[in-house]
């Protein structure tokens, strides 16, 4: 086990590796700084391009009485107006509860009721205002606790008829779309026997992803019946699959649907699965021969893509006086919104892991996916873990304080380690949680009390642990193609997405490592589902691991083919051959060095003048073959739903102006166990970016709805994300490397994890500074000021 610190000489600890473990310059960098990188809205579709606009529901819940499109159809430039009647199909990622356009009912403010296709964007927007929709307004449910109450109106009366994945347990006749239960041990007895028990409720609101690039899609159905969709997406193959499924009644098969995804301006989960893209794809089918562009405004970006779900978390923890956690009961009421086809899996993931990274013998988790008449919830960096860690890690600080134990010692004592039993019965993977705790505590001088010279300022420190597993179907897969070029350079085809995280670079590093090439000789580009092999999605922090394994396997296959040619021509045994410096070398013959460029396309000429070899091409795939989601619905026991967990710790040092309530983050440290940092700089980028995004959710961001379910702040005027003025004075990224045995070079994902710890660490630091516990997010300056004035001190 090793740990590294920023800017430590990487070569030294990297042993024999040449490409992996180095902070290779990102291969998309030149594209992006030169402007060569193209995003969907940059693509030119010529003068035949049509534009779409969406007619939106003004009501949170209503029955559609009638839709009159005649005035819109007569408006200048309008080519076509489509409604739910044109596409009476439902679809969904994990549950088929979603529609292309509203079918009979609208279930949130902003839901798409009709679409207008016109020659110009302005004409489409103007005509959309002319579509007349008559509604019968119904009672809307905006709160998950109200929606689960007896007698609450049903948002989806047909819930029992929806198709869904086998690991969902919908409760027909209620608003509970999925209920993940974990029952382990005997919590009742454990609470009765515990020395101390604390119960409280924590609230986390909804959040928006706020990627810099709004969702945009261009669909084109050509005259031969080929549907091509260009999307700003994290999930080209999943989109192709969902388009093909949703539009199957129109006669599409998967081979006829093509999704092209150029560079993406940020995803954070918001561009996973399918949201507005299906509207664009469907519109295109209505105007054969013409590409149709649908580009969301910033407002639509807020209210009609996915939102991070809100949650009310009821938490009860029992401990012994020595600090041993004996029982956890965690009930999570998720405000999942109007459609949960993706969000229900957030609920599922949280329910499986709601104990946090601790060894807990007695567990009762209930994670309820509750329909509400708010915009659809969905994936967001952290996938449920950010939400429940806020309450959990706040709560554990309180428990530690109550039994007189230092919060770091308390966490250390209960921290999960390799082999410990997980809540669903499987066992914990190797993990560097303990060194992560120690290094984080050390980075913020834990235990050293600091005081400000300013009488209006108090200083506090807080710490929080985190864990997260990729939340995926048990058979989510990755694949790659690899081909050599004449000069010994390589093109690698994959279908993960470069979202700014550095995925393409990491894939290039893995291929380069196996093939003995400099990273610059490997090109990896954004995908086209016609050309590139399958990837489930770029989500779950899994592509470094899963797609990385597929690339590693393709490179190994290519290497084997190379050795085979050499063996055929020169007779060296494969196990004596190796690749280095763009050459094939031999351990038994130091004089042998065959440059790859000499033969990877044209082969090698033998003594008789004939040739051996030919173009070196290879493929690789990876599917986790050890997972299954077949757990008991009542106990959650029996399956192996998660491939592994990535763990870490986050620490904060803050100053609070006690008059204004303003929090200044002086130091933010975060240690994450990357298994193997394939590109340490990119890992540090994830850590700093994750910290800032996590801080944003705890300090500033807050979706606010009025009593009619209308989002009040779908804009950056009133939905605040940090600027350069708002980042911590100092950020300390700490990379822990306890290898993941099945990972490429030992790597596991870190992308989402880096934002999970910030919120509870701030809550704990606020408590440390003021002695006041704030149990709801965000912890705004106003809330802190209120807490100060309410506090006895």
């Amino acid at each position: 086990m090793t740990t590294t610190h920023p800017f430590e000489a990487e070569a030294e600890r990297n042993g024999e590796l040449n490409a992996v473990g180095t902070s290779a310059v990102r291969i998309d960098g030149i594209d992006k700084i030169s402007g060569a990188a193209q995003f969907v809205d940059d693509l030119d579709f010529g003068p035949g391009l049509l534009h779409g606009a969406v007619v939106e529901s003004p009501h949170a819940y209503a029955r559609i009485v009638s839709i009159d499109t005649s005035k819109a159809e007569d408006a200048p430039g309008v080519v076509k107006v489509v409604t739910g009647q044109d596409f009476p199909y439902n679809f969904g990622m994990y549950m088929g509860d979603r529609y292309i356009f509203a079918q009979g009912h609208v279930r949130f403010v902003g839901e798409q009721v009709a679409g207008v296709i016109a020659r110009t964007h302005r004409q489409a927007v103007q005509a959309a205002k002319l579509v007349e929709v008559e509604y019968e307004v119904l009672e809307a449910l905006l709160d998950p606790k109200e929606a689960v109450a007896d007698g609450a109106p049903l948002i989806h009366p047909d819930l029992g008829e929806y198709s869904h994945v086998p690991w969902f347990f919908p409760k027909a006749g209620t608003n509970i779309a999925h209920w993940r239960k974990i029952r382990k041990g005997d919590t009742e007895r454990a609470f009765a026997e515990a020395d101390y028990v604390l119960a409280d409720t924590y609230r986390v609101p909804r959040y928006a992803h706020c990627a810099i690039e709004p969702h945009v899609t261009v669909g084109k159905l050509d005259h031969a019946g080929r549907l091509t969709v260009w999307t700003a997406s994290q999930s080209p193959h999943t989109q192709r699959h969902l388009f093909a499924e949703a539009l199957a009644p129109l006669g599409f098969s998967h081979k006829d649907v093509r999704v092209i995804t150029p560079y993406v301006g940020g995803g954070f989960g918001g561009k996973a699965g399918v949201t507005m893209e299906v509207i664009g794809a469907a519109m295109a089918t209505a105007v054969k021969g013409h590409p149709v562009k649908l580009r969301f405004t910033r407002e639509q970006e807020f209210y009609n893509t996915y939102q991070r779900q809100g949650v009310v978390a009821e938490l009860k923890v029992g401990v012994m006086n020595d600090g041993t956690i004996t029982a956890v009961e965690h009930t999570l009421y998720w405000d999942a919104g109007a459609y949960v086809e993706y969000g229900a899996n957030v609920v599922n993931a949280a329910g499986l892991s709601a104990t946090g990274p601790y060894r807990v013998p007695n567990i009762r988790n209930d994670s309820l996916c509750v329909y509400t008449n708010l915009p659809p919830g969905g994936p967001y960096r952290g996938f449920g873990y950010s939400e429940f860690h806020f309450g959990l890690e706040s709560h554990l600080d309180r428990v530690a304080a109550a039994i007189g134990m230092d919060p770091v010692d308390f966490r250390r004592k209960n921290a999960i380690v390799e082999g410990d039993e997980l809540s669903y019965g499987a066992h914990m993977n190797p993990s560097g949680l303990l060194p992560a705790i120690d290094e984080t505590a050390s980075a913020i001088d834990w235990g050293v009390e600091e005081q400000s010279d300013d009488p209006n300022t108090v200083i506090g420190k807080g710490i929080a642990l985190f864990w997260k597993a990729p939340a995926m179907p048990p058979n989510a897969s990755s694949a790659s193609f690899l081909k050599f070029n004449e000069d010994g350079s390589v093109n690698v085809s994959v279908s993960g997405m470069e979202l700014g995280q550095g995925y393409l670079t990491v894939m290039a590093q893995i291929a380069a490592e196996v093939l003995g090439l400099p990273v610059e000789k490997v090109r990896v580009e954004t995908p086209d589902t016609d050309r590139n092999p399958y990837e489930w999605q770029t989500v779950a922090s899994h592509v470094t691991w899963s797609s990385g394994l597929a690339v590693e396997r393709a490179a190994v296959e290519a290497r084997e083919k190379i050795f085979d040619v050499i063996h055929q021509v020169y007779g060296y045994e494969d196990d004596t051959l190796y690749l280095a410096d763009e050459q094939v070398k031999c351990t038994t013959d130091p004089d042998f060095a065959k440059p790859l460029r000499d033969f990877v396309i044209d082969g090698i000429q033998t003594e008789d003048g004939t040739w051996r070899g030919g173009p070196i091409v290879a493929s690789g795939k990876f599917m986790p073959e050890f997972t299954n989601a077949n757990s008991d619905p009542e106990t959650g026991q029996g399956g192996h739903p998660n491939v592994h967990y990535t763990v870490g710790a986050c620490g904060m040092v803050i100053e609070i102006d006690t008059h204004t309530g303003r929090i200044f983050v002086r130091k933010a440290a975060l240690a994450v166990d990357a298994g193997k940092a394939i590109n340490p700089d990119l890992v540090r980028g994830q850590i700093t970016g994750g910290l800032v995004q996590g801080l944003a959710t705890v300090l500033y961001e807050d979706m606010r709805f009025d009593e009619d379910g209308r989002l009040l702040n779908p804009n950056f005027t009133d939905y605040k994300i940090p600027t350069a003025f708002d980042i911590p004075d100092e950020m300390i990224p700490i990379i822990i490397e306890v290898p993941q045995p099945d990972g490429p070079f030992g790597a596991r994902g870190v992308g989402e994890h880096t934002m999970i710890g910030a919120a509870p660490a701030i809550a704990n630091a606020v408590f440390d500074a003021l002695g006041v516990r704030i149990t709801s997010m965000p912890i705004t300056q106003e809330k802190v000021a209120q807490a100060v004035s309410a506090s006895p001190t």
Binding site: V125, Y700, L712, T723, E782
Partner: protein, 294 residues
């Protein structure tokens, strides 16, 4: 971006043509300078003018100068102009202190000070500062030129003394020797609309002018506070006396951005800190202008 509403657009070269265009317009008209409010309202379909009169081609509206201890700020002067002007830094530093808190650089490059007080939202940053400077607003209309003292300018929520056929030409301010500050409550370090703000000017006789923003339908002068502490240095007792009067000078509301209680509380905090800083600046030993006091 789509502006769904159709309107006529004119870009006159003289004030006379501009005022005539406004007078001749049978429907509603909007004056366009920086457009940072107007264009957003048009995009949101929140205003439906029949005519937009762009005044950017009119000469003489860009003055930013001091003569005879009077500062003139033309109606096309932007917030960036204020921040970059040495004249403003020397004679009216609260203008640049406030300008720096307005939106973002891109917006400040276009947004005008006069446009800010013509939109007259309660949180307009120029409002409290101009109140504290006792500015005058100069207009031209069909009946010629007139001027309005800034205190008579803000007549209600988003309402000003400007008649529909008038154009603001410039602002003037008599310049006292003074110290001062503009303190603004924002939700974070980035660009934000004021949830509450205070502008304070103090001269060597400890004559104060104090105005609050975003805590009433219009920016408001706090005359009662000024009268109560006139002639006295901001000692702890004086500050306590001033702070105790704050809540009777303002009428903050609860909204998405802040509660009325927090706004009131922060007006007290900002006044207390602002009085000290303003007096220190008057004395030449305060925090530099444009440093945040909260």
């Amino acid at each position: 971006m789509v502006i769904p509403h159709d309107f006529e657009y004119v870009r006159p070269n003289t004030l006379e043509e501009a005022t005539r265009a406004l007078a001749d317009c049978s429907g509603s008209a909007q004056v366009l300078a920086g457009g940072t409010d107007l264009v957003a309202w048009l995009r949101d379909d929140a205003v439906h003018p029949d005519l937009v009169v762009d005044i950017k081609a009119i000469d003489g509206l860009r003055d930013l100068a001091v003569a005879d201890r009077t500062m003139t700020v033309g109606s096309l002067v932007t917030f960036t102009d204020l921040m970059e002007s040495s004249v403003v830094a020397e004679h009216a530093p609260l203008l640049s202190e406030a300008a720096e808190t307005v939106a973002s650089p891109g917006i400040r490059n276009r947004a005008t000070v006069v446009g800010n007080i013509c939109s007259a939202v309660p949180s307009c940053d120029a409002g409290p500062v101009l109140l504290a400077y006792d500015a005058h607003v100069h207009l031209v209309g069909p009946e010629g030129f007139r001027s309005v003292p800034i205190e008579a300018w803000f007549v209600g929520l988003r309402q000003t003394a400007r008649r529909e056929d008038e154009i603001v030409t410039h602002l003037t301010m008599e310049l006292p020797t003074h110290g001062g500050c503009y303190v603004k409550l924002m939700r974070y370090g980035g660009e934000d609309l004021a949830q509450a703000a205070v502008a304070i000017v103090v001269d060597d006789a400890h004559d104060y002018r104090i105005a609050f923003g975003a805590v009433a339908p219009t920016p408001v002068r706090a005359h009662a506070v000024e009268d109560a502490i006139r002639g006295r240095a901001p000692t702890e007792d004086v500050i306590a006396e001033a702070v105790a009067m704050v809540r009777s000078e303002i009428s903050p509301i609860n909204d998405l951005r802040a509660t009325a209680e927090y706004r009131a509380h922060m007006c007290e905090v900002m006044l207390a800190r602002g009085l000290v800083a303003a007096d220190q600046r008057r004395n030449g030993d305060g925090p530099e202008y444009r440093t945040r006091l909260i």
